[in-house]
Symmetry: C2
């Protein structure tokens, strides 16, 4: 807000004007209309593919001209595939710990070996369930190691998460920003289960150019009372919204363009969405 | 799909046609473009207000003609307000259990008394944190009892969740269906924290006319492999998407129209999203 505008507002707000002031420009720019568009036109992604180039092509193919503030949500699976994050179970020899755990959860010991290699901690396990803390910090099933939509039946390849999803998002963002001359957001999403609710929802594994976590500390509520809810997981909400268009099975929509979300904070990465271990009451 | 169309498809799909067939009509109708529109033009909602009538007015005011399959997401707060779910703390006398717990969590003992009255179980508590199982089944902070955006400073009123959010959603749906001659979905949303992730996200407390939980059991993945992820919390994803437009503080957008999500299953209520206690590994 310009200094003149600030003075005008203050003239009409004799009390508390300065305290509230910092919030006004943000409130003025409000999210009123959001569109989500599925990007078809992506080929099956292979290791070594230039994913940003494929995404740019899919945007052009869809007739979309990206604009400042648009957010491209990209499925974790195609990021991992492009980064070649495959492991062939045929070459995995399970250790003693994986073999014992595999018997308890009724999974392939080689798969469990791979899951443990990606994990810092086993959080819960029982038949058909293996919830771990991924080394990146995500508490999730099977460390995100994926057998669905990875390779044709008969192959024993599984797919790991990207090595550094925030960095992957940043790379895609910079390439697309260059290609289209804009300032985009990029979110890499995956589907997570929740402890107390049935069904999976989209969450943000990586993010660039968006405030993944929005801080509302000190913002007034409708009646001027200080808010108690202090943080909103904006990137997770964007990831969930995009998941509505991506589907989970053979629908194969690996990217969605989100337009219209008004951001009022500086970008922070998706790693900010991970609750620090010492604040976790549920392990 | 018509019988003729089925025959045409089968003619081009000699193998496995019958097995895959049941999935084809669903896959053919895919969510490709979704729009979310914030509904302004709602007054402050008061106990006894006819919320469906207010929502119908806000839709007309926004120039929106609802269409079959549109989903109206309504903030829990205005549903609770219309249903008069206020409690005046001035009239609450905390019992011994609430008084002891209040000292441990540093909250008003009268507020804790109200929270306990809404809860079946205290799941975790510590300074500033009180996670309970609401009698409706939701594991959530403070049983959803709300002090923000409820009443002007000085008042001691707090706001409870709707008595039966699925029923509230169904009532709104039927009234709006009548008013506009369409078949709508309605989702009542709130913001929940998560154990392992920072920040709140929108979730569905109540739903009508939408498959709140979508079952993918047996659906093939891109390579025909049977899916392992079997359920998607569609109503939670819709709730999160709408939350992007609602905000949390003084933004005051209590309803969002979502258009374009293609549903391929029968409606099920939001209560289906609650994980049964006996399957919960995290209490």
């Amino acid at each position: 807000m310009s200094e003149t505008a600030t003075e005008v507002v203050q003239a009409f707000r004799p009390a508390e004007a300065e305290v509230v002031q910092a919030l006004r420009p943000a409130v003025a720019a409000r999210t009123k209309h959001v569109t989500l568009t599925a990007l078809a036109g992506l080929p099956m992604v292979k290791p070594g593919d230039d994913l940003a180039a494929l995404l740019a092509g899919a945007l052009r193919c869809a007739g979309i001209v990206p604009a400042d503030g648009d957010v491209l949500v990209v499925a974790q699976k195609i990021v991992s595939k492009a980064e070649g994050r495959f492991v062939d179970l045929a070459g995995v020899v399970p250790g003693a710990r994986a073999t014992k755990l595999a018997a308890e959860v009724f999974k392939d010991p080689r798969l469990v070996e791979v899951i443990l290699s990606q994990s810092s901690e086993v959080v819960r396990h029982r038949k058909d369930v293996l919830v771990v803390a991924h080394r990146l910090g995500f508490v999730m099933a099977n460390a995100g190691v994926d057998q669905s939509n990875v390779a044709p039946e008969g192959s024993e390849h599984v797919l790991l998460l990207p090595e550094d999803p925030d960095a992957s998002a940043q790379t895609i963002k910079m390439r697309l920003d260059d290609a289209f001359g804009v300032n985009l957001g990029v979110v890499i999403n995956d589907s997570f289960g929740r402890p107390w609710r049935q069904g999976v929802v989209g969450v943000a594994l990586g993010a660039a150019g968006v405030p993944a976590l929005r801080n509302l500390v000190g913002a007034p509520d409708l009646f001027g009372r200080k808010m108690r809810v202090t943080e909103v997981a904006v990137a997770d909400e964007i990831a969930s919204a995009a998941s509505l268009l991506m589907g989970e099975s053979d629908e194969g929509v690996p990217a969605v363009l989100v337009r219209g979300v008004v951001f009022r904070d500086q970008p922070v990465p998706a790693s900010s969405l991970i609750r620090p271990r010492e604040l976790d009451m549920f392990r």
